[in-house]
C-alpha cells in the first residue's frame, strides 16, 4: 500500500478499487433507457422500430408545428419613460448588505428595474474595499424568495391571517399596546449600527417609559467585549490589522471565513501571503483548533486540541511569552507547537497578532495579555476604529428571557432576529414569548420566532429599503432601494415613527438627517451615489491596558471542565453562518470548503473515530469504499446536557482532533408544525440538516460554542443517511501533478525548482518556450487581437466560495437540489478542489490545498476535437466556446475533458424549455422542491438576461463570462479607445474574490495585470497537467507554505511509485 501524495478522498489516497473504476468513467450511470432488462436493444421494451416510429411521429409533429402560427408577441413601451433609465442597459446603485449582523458595502446591478447581481463597493477603501463573501453574493436571490411574507398578518392559532391595510394593522397594534399599559416594552434587534435607526429607537423608547432596547446576535462576541471592558476599559472590538502581522496565531478563530469582519481580515492577511519572487517573504500563520476550519486549512502550522483546552492553550502561550501564569498540562506535540509559536511571536514583537475564536471572556483576557506581551497594540490591533457590529451582550438577552418568563414584559418588538431558532435557550424564549401580551415581529418571513408573534409586519429586503450603517465610527455606508417593494412591506423604522406619533416616513427622516449632517443636497446625493462616507478624522485611540484580572482569568480557565470522552465543537459554515439566509438555494448547494458536502450539516469526526466506532479503517483501500463510494453515511446519536439527540450522519475529516466531534449551526430550520416549514420558512430548507443551536451552552456570563458529550450511540440504527459530497465527483485519473507546493525555505533556496521541473518535463517536446508549437501535430493558430487569460494565485485562495456563488448569479447556473447532487449532477461551473496531504493518524500533519477549478479554455482543447456537431470550438480570442443551441448532448466532450469541468443538464433545471413536460418527474427522476423554487416566476427575476438559460440535454461550462467580455469590448469601441485592463472587463469570480487571487485580462497586452502577474511570477507559474498539451489559458501560481515540510511532496518518489504500480498490476 502506498500513500498518495495528495488526495481528495480517502479512496484516492488508498487507490481503492472503486476509485480506480470511477476514474475510468466520467458518468457513473448509463443512459436512462427504460426497460432494457439486460436484453439486447431489439428485445427491449422499446426496440429500434419504436424509435423509428417516434422519429417519424416527431418529424410529422414538427411539420405540423411549422404550419402553426408563430405566437404573437407584444411590446409595451412606457407612457412616460423615466429619464435616467435605458432599457437593456444596466444601472449600478451603491447600497449595503446588512443581513445577520454583517455590514458590507455593495453595488447592485439593476437591469430593466430588477437587481440581478451584487458586487463589492470599491469606494469602501477603509473597510471591505470591494470584497464580498458567498453570502453577500447570494443575498440578491433572497429578494426573490418565494417564502417571503407578502402582507401584514395577525397570527391566529398559529395561522397567518391577512390584515388588509397598514392602518388596520396600526390600529390592532395600538389597541393591543394600550392594553398592556405599565408593563415595559422591549425592542429586540440584532446589533444596530444605523445612526438613524438608533435615533428613531431612542425617540420611540422615550414615548414608552420603562421600555428598553436589547441587542442580540446569534453569533455573539460578548467574550471579547467583556474582556476588553476588563483589560482596556472599553466595551468594544478593535480593528485587527492582519496586513501588519508577520506572525498570526489564531486560537480557533475562523478569521478568513466566519469570524467578525472576516472580509477585511482576509484582505489584510492576503497582503502578507502573496509572494514577491524577487524578495520572497510571507507571514507565518499558526492555528490551534479542534476542528479543521477553513482558516485552519490555510495555516502553515496547525495543532489540534480539545475544545475545553482552548483556554489552556492561551495560558500556555502566555506563559511561554513570559506572562506571570503557569502553563497547564498539555499534550507534548501541542506544547511543542505552542513553544514554536511563542518563539515566533517573541521574535516579531509589534508585527504579530493573536486572535481567539472563543466567546469566553476569561480566555479573551488572556489573549489580550498575550497581545500586550507581543506589542500588538497600535500596530496589529487598532483601537482608533473599533468594529461596531456584533455589540450584543449575552447576559442582557438572558435577562430578557427571564423577564419574559416572569411576565414582566408587556410588549416585544422583534426585528431581524430569530431567537426561537438560534438562541441557545430557544425553548425558554418560546415559553417567555407566549407570556408577552403584545408581540410584533418585523421579519421577512414566518420564521420560528415570527410565527409565534401575535402581529407580523413584513420587513422589506435591503435591496428595497432606505437606510444607513456605521460599521466603524465615522464610517458610513448607505442603503438605497434598487427596486420598488415587491410586496406589501413597511420598514421597521416607519412603524416606530408612526407608533411614536410622528408623521414623517423613514425615507424623509433619513434624507433630512443626512442632508443636515452632510451639509448639502449635493453632498447627500454624492454619498448615496458612492454608497460610503469615510471618516475624515480618526477617533481618539486612547486605551490603557490593565493586567489586574489576568490571574483571576487564569484561575477561571483552570476550572474549565474537561470532558472524559468526547467533546462537541459547534461551528458556523461559510455558506450559512447562523442561518439568516438558510432558504437560499445557492448557499445550500455551495460545497463546504473542507468537507465538500452540500445541503446538510452533519457531525464531523476524525478518521480515528471511524476506526474506533465503525471498525472502518480509512487508510485501507477496501474499507474506504464502504464509506466513500456510497453517499450513505453512518448515523450516531450524541448525548449532550443529559439529552439524547436524534440520529445524525457522521462525515470523517482528516485533521480533526481525535476527541472532538463538530456540528455546524444554520441548518435544521423548522416551523412549529413541521408541515408548515415549506410555506413559512421556504421550500429549500425542508430536510436540510439539523439544528445545532441547542448544543450551545451558557457559562454564567456568555454563550459557549462547545459542549461535553456525555455519550455516543453508534448503533442507533442500521439505516444510513445520504450526504451529498461533491469532492469525489471529478477526478484526474491519477494525473497528480495538479497542485504544486514548496516551502518558503525551499523557494528562497531554489526559486527555480518548479520552473526547472516543468522545463525538464517538456524538454523532449520543445521545452516551455516552444511547447505550444512543437508538442503537437495540430497546426498553430494565431490570436491576432485579444487573447484572454486567467491567473490564479494558490497562495491567496482560501476556499471561501464567494467566486462559486458569484458565478451562479452571473451565469444563471442552475441549482439542482440534493437528490441530483447525489447523482453527480451538480452544475457548478467553478468548483474549488480541496486536497489533503499528510498522515491520516496525525491530525497535526494534515495540510490542505484549495484549487479553484474551472474551464481552462485550452488552446488545444480535447473537448473540441470530439464534438460531432462542432458545438464547442475555439474562438480567435482563446475562448473555448460552447454553443448551447447546437449541442445535441452526446457528452463526448465531458468524457474527454481532463479537468472535468463540463456540466450536463440532465433535467430542465431552470425551466428553459418551451415544451411544458420537460420537468415531468416521471421521466427525469425526482427533482427536489428547491428546483421548483428556483423556477418560480418570482425567483426567475434574478436571471441575467444576457446569458442564455440552458435547457435539458445540453452541455455547459465556464465561458470566462463572455457576456462581460463582449460588453467591455463594446464599451471601448463606442468610446473609440483601446480596452482598459481591469476597468472594462472583469469576470464575476475575479470581482468576487476578496483576496484578488484571480486575475484576468488580455495576455496579448504586455501591460495588463495578468501579463505582468505571469511575468513577475514566472518561477511559480504552472499549468495543470500541461504535459498533455492542452495549452490552458488558465495558469496557477504554486503554493508556497511557510512551514518546514510539504507533506504532499515526498522525495522517495521513485520507490513509492514503483510499488504502487506493482500493486496495481497484481
Amino acid at each position: 500500500m502506498s500513500d498518495k501524495k495528495y488526495w481528495q478522498s480517502f479512496g484516492e489516497r488508498s487507490n481503492s478499487e472503486a476509485f480506480q473504476k470511477s476514474t475510468e468513467n466520467e458518468f457513473r450511470e448509463d443512459l436512462p433507457l427504460e426497460g432494457l432488462d439486460g436484453k439486447g436493444l431489439l428485445d427491449a421494451k422499446h426496440p429500434r422500430r419504436d424509435f423509428l416510429k417516434y422519429l417519424g411521429f416527431s418529424t410529422a409533429a414538427a411539420a405540423l408545428a411549422a404550419s402553426c402560427e408563430v405566437p404573437v408577441r407584444k411590446v409595451v413601451p412606457y407612457v412616460n419613460k423615466p429619464d435616467n433609465m435605458i432599457p437593456g442597459v444596466a444601472d449600478w446603485y451603491a447600497t449595503t448588505y446588512n443581513v445577520g449582523g454583517d455590514i458590507v458595502p455593495v453595488v447592485a446591478k439593476v437591469r430593466d428595474g430588477r437587481p440581478i447581481k451584487l458586487e463589492g463597493n470599491e469606494m469602501a477603501k477603509g473597510y471591505t474595499n470591494g470584497a464580498t463573501s458567498a453570502r453577500v453574493q447570494a443575498s440578491v436571490l433572497d429578494l426573490y424568495d418565494t417564502a417571503r411574507l407578502r402582507f401584514p398578518v395577525q397570527m391566529v392559532d398559529g395561522k397567518p391571517q391577512e390584515v388588509s391595510t397598514f392602518d388596520a394593522f396600526d390600529k390592532l397594534v395600538s389597541d393591543s399596546l394600550a392594553g398592556s399599559a405599565g408593563a415595559p416594552l422591549v425592542i429586540l434587534t440584532g446589533t444596530i449600527t444605523s445612526p438613524t435607526t438608533k435615533q428613531i429607537i431612542t425617540e420611540f423608547l422615550a414615548k414608552y417609559p420603562g421600555s428598553r432596547h436589547v441587542q442580540y446576535d446569534a453569533d455573539g462576541y460578548s467574550g471579547i467585549l467583556l474582556a476588553n471592558q476588563t483589560t482596556y476599559g472599553r466595551k468594544a472590538i478593535p480593528s485587527y490589522k492582519f496586513e501588519n502581522a508577520e506572525v498570526v496565531v489564531s486560537l480557533g478563530a475562523d478569521f478568513l471565513g466566519t469570524w467578525l469582519s472576516h472580509l477585511e481580515y482576509s484582505q489584510g492577511y492576503a497582503k502578507n501571503r502573496k509572494i514577491d519572487e524577487k524578495a520572497p517573504k510571507m507571514s507565518k500563520h499558526y492555528q490551534f483548533e479542534s476542528l479543521l476550519s477553513m482558516t485552519g486549512a490555510n495555516a502553515d502550522d496547525r495543532y489540534v486540541h480539545r475544545p475545553s483546552e482552548a483556554g489552556a492553550v492561551a495560558l500556555a502561550l502566555l506563559a511561554e511569552l513570559g506572562g506571570s501564569v503557569s502553563a497547564p498540562a498539555l499534550d507534548d506535540k501541542l506544547k511543542a507547537g505552542i513553544k514554536k509559536a511563542a518563539k515566533d511571536l517573541a521574535d516579531h514583537k509589534g508585527k504579530a497578532l493573536v486572535v481567539s475564536g472563543s466567546n469566553n471572556p476569561d480566555i479573551q483576557v488572556i489573549v489580550n495579555a498575550i497581545n500586550e506581551a507581543i506589542g500588538a497594540g497600535g500596530t496589529t490591533i487598532d483601537w482608533s476604529a473599533p468594529l461596531q457590529t456584533r455589540q450584543g451582550i449575552d447576559s442582557e438577552m438572558n435577562t430578557l428571557v427571564a423577564d419574559m418568563n416572569d411576565g414582566k414584559i408587556g410588549a416585544l418588538l422583534i426585528y431581524g432576529v430569530n431567537p426561537a431558532y438560534d438562541y441557545y435557550n430557544a425553548a425558554g424564549f418560546k415559553t417567555g414569548l407566549a407570556k408577552v401580551k403584545t408581540s410584533i415581529s418585523f421579519n421577512d418571513r414566518l420564521d420560528e420566532t415570527t410565527e409565534l408573534a401575535k402581529f407580523v409586519l413584513p420587513a422589506p429586503h435591503f435591496l428595497e429599503s432606505w437606510g444607513d450603517a456605521e460599521p466603524k465610527p465615522g464610517y458610513f455606508s448607505f442603503i438605497q432601494p434598487t427596486i420598488a417593494p415587491l410586496f406589501k412591506t413597511r420598514p421597521f423604522e416607519d412603524s416606530l415613527l408612526k407608533w411614536s406619533g410622528s408623521a414623517v416616513t423613514y425615507e424623509n427622516y433619513f434624507s433630512q438627517y443626512w442632508k443636515s449632517k452632510l451639509g448639502s443636497m449635493e453632498a447627500y446625493e454624492k454619498a448615496l451615489q458612492e454608497g460610503v462616507v469615510e471618516a475624515t478624522t480618526a477617533a481618539a485611540a486612547g486605551v490603557s491596558y490593565s493586567n489586574a484580572k489576568v490571574a483571576e482569568a487564569a484561575g477561571a480557565i483552570a476550572g474549565i471542565k474537561k470532558g472524559a470522552g468526547f467533546e462537541l465543537a459547534v461551528y458556523q459554515t461559510i455558506a450559512l453562518g447562523t442561518g439568516a439566509q438558510a432558504n437560499n438555494p445557492w448557499l445550500l448547494e455551495l460545497p463546504d470548503p473542507v468537507t465538500k458536502a452540500t445541503w446538510d450539516n452533519y457531525i464531523v469526526a476524525s478518521p480515528k473515530f471511524a476506526k474506533d466506532h465503525f471498525n472502518l479503517d480509512l487508510a485501507d483501500r477496501r474499507q474506504t469504499d464502504k464509506y466513500e463510494v456510497n453517499p450513505e453515511k453512518h448515523m450516531i446519536t450524541i448525548k449532550v446536557n443529559g439529552k439524547e439527540s436524534v440520529p445524525m450522519p457522521v462525515v470523517f475529516v482528516p485533521g480533526m482532533d481525535n476527541n472532538t466531534l463538530g456540528i455546524a449551526v444554520g441548518f435544521g430550520r423548522q416551523s412549529a408544525k413541521a408541515d408548515n416549514t415549506s410555506d413559512f420558512i421556504g421550500k429549500s430548507v425542508v430536510g436540510a440538516g439539523w439544528n445545532a443551536f441547542p448544543y450551545l451552552g451558557y457559562n454564567g456570563t456568555t454563550v459557549e460554542w462547545s459542549a461535553i458529550v456525555d455519550g455516543i450511540n453508534d448503533k442507533v440504527s442500521a439505516e444510513q443517511y445520504k450526504v451529498a459530497v461533491t469532492q469525489t465527483h471529478s477526478s484526474y485519473e491519477e494525473r497528480t501533478q495538479v497542485v504544486k507546493e514548496v516551502t518558503l525555505d525551499q523557494f528562497i533556496k531554489n526559486p527555480k525548482e518548479i520552473h526547472e521541473e516543468r522545463e525538464a518535463e517538456l524538454k523532449p517536446f520543445g521545452g516551455i518556450e516552444n511547447f505550444d508549437k512543437d508538442g503537437t501535430l495540430y497546426p498553430y493558430y494565431d490570436k491576432p487581437g485579444i487573447k484572454w487569460g486567467m491567473s490564479i494565485d494558490m497562495n491567496a485562495c482560501y476556499g471561501c466560495g464567494a467566486c462559486v456563488v458569484a458565478c451562479h448569479a452571473e451565469n444563471n447556473v442552475s441549482v439542482v437540489g440534493k437528490s441530483e447532487v447525489l447523482r453527480y449532477h451538480d452544475m457548478h461551473w467553478l468548483r474549488i478542489d480541496r486536497y489533503f496531504s499528510g498522515d491520516l493518524e496525525d491530525p497535526n500533519s494534515i495540510q490542505t490545498v484549495f484549487q479553484p477549478m474551472l474551464c481552462q479554455h485550452c488552446d488545444n482543447a480535447p473537448c473540441e476535437n470530439v464534438c460531432p456537431v462542432a458545438a464547442t470550438n475555439h474562438s480567435s480570442e482563446g475562448l473555448n466556446q460552447m454553443a448551447y443551441n447546437r449541442c445535441i448532448g452526446t457528452r463526448y466532450c465531458a468524457n474527454n475533458c481532463p479537468y472535468k469541468v463540463r456540466r450536463f443538464n440532465w433535467a430542465d433545471y431552470t425551466g428553459a424549455d418551451s415544451f411544458p413536460n420537460n420537468q415531468d418527474q416521471t421521466t427525469v427522476g425526482k427533482l427536489d422542491p428547491t428546483v421548483f423554487q428556483m423556477n418560480d416566476d418570482l425567483t426567475r427575476m434574478v436571471l441575467n438576461p444576457d446569458v442564455t438559460v440552458r435547457s435539458r440535454g445540453v452541455m455547459e461550462k465556464c465561458s470566462f463570462c463572455v457576456q462581460r467580455l463582449q460588453e467591455g469590448k463594446l464599451k471601448a469601441k463606442k468610446e473609440n479607445r483601446p480596452l482598459k485592463d481591469l476597468e472594462d472587463v472583469r469576470t464575476a469570480c475575479q470581482q468576487a474574490c476578496s483576496s484578488d487571487a484571480i486575475v484576468f485580462g488580455n495576455v496579448n497586452d504586455k501591460e495588463s495585470l495578468v501579463s505582468r502577474t505571469r511575468k513577475d511570477n514566472s518561477q511559480r507559474l504552472f499549468y495543470v497537467i500541461e504535459e498533455t498539451h492542452t495549452l490552458p489559458n488558465v495558469n496557477y501560481l504554486a503554493k508556497v507554505r511557510h512551514t518546514d515540510v510539504i507533506r504532499g511532496v515526498k522525495k522517495e518518489e521513485g520507490e513509492g511509485a514503483a510499488a504502487e504500480k506493482a500493486e496495481k498490476h497484481a
Partner: protein, 429 residues
C-alpha cells in the same frame, strides 16, 4: 436500334432541374437600400432639426425656407440657432413674436453646431425643393412591381413537360411503326399511367418536391420574414421618417445606447404631437385591405393613451395607458443582438436590415433575420480599421498584425469575420 432511353433520361433530368431552378428563384429576392450621399447640410438638418422643422411646412416649429430673407442679419440668425434663450433674453422683437406665436414652446439649443454647420443647414433649407414625386390627391401610389419570373418559369416548365410528353408518345408510335415494318411483334401497349418508368419518375418528382418543402418549412420554423401585423394605432413610418424626415434615432434613441432599439415611449410622441393634432396635409393613407385611414383619429388614439386633452392641453396621468404594439422583429432567446454595436460602432444604416422603412406605412419585417443572413453580412462588412493615419476606431489598435498587413498591402481591408465576427460566442452566450 433507336436508343431512346438516354433521351428520356435527359428530358426528365432537365425538367427536374428547371423545376428546382424556378422554385429556388422564389426564395432569393433580396434587396438593400444603400445610403445616398446626402449633402452635409441635409444630414445635419435630419439629425438636429427635422424633428421639429420642415423646410416648407410648419410643424412644431415654423417652416424654414426663406428664413435668411426674414432674418437678414446672419449673425443674429446664427446666435438664435445656437442659443435661442439668449436671444430671447436680449429681447429681439421678431423672435419674441415668433416665440409667442408658437405658444412659447422653447426651441432646443445647439451649442455644438459651428457656423459652417449652420451655413450648410441654411443652404440646404433654402435650396430645398418639395419632392415632386409626393403623391397628390389620388393617394394610390403606383407600385413598381418587382419582376417576378416564377409564373413565367412555371408556364415554361409546363409547356416543356407537355412537349416532352407529346414527343415521347410520338417516339413510341414511330418505334411501333418501325417495329411493325421490320416484323418485330409489337408488345401489348401499356397505358402511360401503368408504365413503370412514368410512375417512377412521378414518384421521384413528388419526393424531391416534398423533401424540398419539408426542408424549407423546417428552416423557416420560427422565422417570419415579411411579417406585417396590424398595429393598435396606424402609425405610418412613411409619414414620419419619409415625408417629414424625422430622424430614426429621434424616436428610437435607445438604439444608440442599448441592445434594444425599443418602441419609443408615448412622451416622445407628444414632443411633436402636442402641437400636431390633425392629419390633413399629407397623402391619404390606406390599410392593406384598402380601407382609408383617418390620420386625425389615429392621433386621437394616441391622446387617449397618453391621457391628453387636446382642447385644454392638460394631461390626466390616471387615464393614461401604454400602447400594446405587436412585436415584429423577434429573435430567439439564444441570440444576443446589440443595436448600439451595429449603428454606433459598425455605423450600419437602419435600412440595411429594416429595409426602406421610410416608404412603409405599416412596418413589415424586411430581412429574414436568419443566422445565414447575419453571417453573410459579417463576412463582407469591413471593420473601421482606418488608414495609415490612424483615424479608425482606436479599439482595433490591439490587432497589430492586421494593421501591419494593411500597411504592407497584404490585405486591403479587414472584415468582421477576420476579427472573429463569425464565431459562435459573438452572438450565442
Amino acid at each position: 436500334m433507336i436508343h431512346h432511353r438516354p433521351i428520356v433520361k435527359t428530358f426528365i433530368f432537365s425538367i427536374l432541374l428547371s423545376t428546382l431552378v424556378s422554385l429556388a428563384n422564389m426564395g432569393y429576392a433580396q434587396g438593400g437600400a444603400a445610403a445616398g450621399d446626402a449633402a452635409k447640410g441635409k444630414a445635419l438638418f435630419t439629425t438636429n432639426c427635422a424633428s421639429c422643422h420642415n423646410p416648407i411646412k410648419q410643424i412644431t416649429g415654423p417652416a424654414l425656407k426663406g428664413v435668411t430673407e426674414r432674418v437678414p442679419d446672419k449673425k443674429l440668425l446664427h446666435d438664435w440657432i445656437k442659443n435661442n434663450q439668449k436671444v430671447l433674453a436680449a429681447g429681439n422683437p421678431y423672435f419674441t413674436k415668433l416665440y409667442n406665436d408658437f405658444s412659447k414652446t422653447p426651441m432646443n439649443t445647439f451649442p455644438g453646431l459651428s457656423d459652417a454647420d449652420i451655413d450648410d443647414i441654411l443652404k440646404y433649407v433654402e435650396t430645398y425643393q418639395a419632392p415632386s414625386t409626393t403623391p397628390g390627391g389620388d393617394g394610390v401610389t403606383p407600385k413598381t412591381e418587382e419582376s417576378d419570373n416564377t409564373l413565367l418559369y412555371g408556364i415554361l416548365t409546363l409547356i416543356l413537360a407537355v412537349i416532352m410528353f407529346v414527343l415521347l408518345q410520338v417516339n413510341s408510335s414511330l418505334k411501333k411503326l418501325s417495329d411493325d415494318k421490320e416484323g418485330i411483334p409489337a408488345q401489348e401497349p401499356i397505358p402511360f399511367y401503368r408504365n413503370k418508368v412514368y410512375i417512377t419518375f412521378v414518384i421521384l418528382i413528388l419526393f424531391v418536391l416534398g423533401g424540398f418543402w419539408v426542408v424549407q418549412g423546417a428552416i423557416g420554423l420560427g422565422r417570419q420574414q415579411n411579417y406585417q401585423p396590424e398595429q393598435p394605432i396606424f402609425y405610418s413610418h412613411k409619414v414620419h421618417a419619409g415625408i417629414n424626415q424625422v430622424s430614426c434615432l429621434y424616436c428610437h434613441g435607445n438604439a444608440w445606447d442599448s441592445k434594444h432599439a425599443t418602441v419609443p415611449s408615448l412622451n416622445v410622441c407628444m414632443n411633436c404631437h402636442a402641437a400636431i393634432n390633425e392629419y390633413s396635409k399629407g397623402p391619404k393613407l390606406y390599410r392593406e385591405d384598402g380601407s382609408e385611414v383617418d390620420g386625425t383619429a389615429e392621433i386621437a388614439k394616441l391622446y387617449k393613451h397618453v391621457g391628453y386633452d387636446a382642447k385644454t392641453g392638460k394631461y390626466d396621468t390616471n387615464a393614461a395607458s401604454p400602447v400594446e404594439w405587436t412585436k415584429i422583429h423577434n429573435l430567439p432567446d439564444h441570440v444576443y443582438f446589440n443595436h448600439s454595436q451595429h449603428i454606433r460602432v459598425g455605423k450600419v444604416q437602419c435600412q440595411t436590415c429594416h429595409g426602406p422603412i421610410q416608404e412603409m406605412d405599416e412596418v413589415k419585417q424586411f430581412s429574414a433575420l436568419s443566422m445565414g443572413w447575419c453571417i453573410n453580412c459579417h463576412r463582407t462588412t469591413k471593420v473601421n480599421f482606418g488608414d495609415s493615419t490612424g483615424n479608425g476606431n482606436k479599439f482595433y489598435s490591439v490587432y497589430e498584425k492586421f494593421h501591419q498587413d494593411l500597411k504592407n498591402h497584404d490585405k486591403d481591408s479587414i472584415t468582421v469575420e477576420n476579427i472573429g465576427g463569425t464565431e459562435c460566442q459573438k452572438c450565442h452566450y
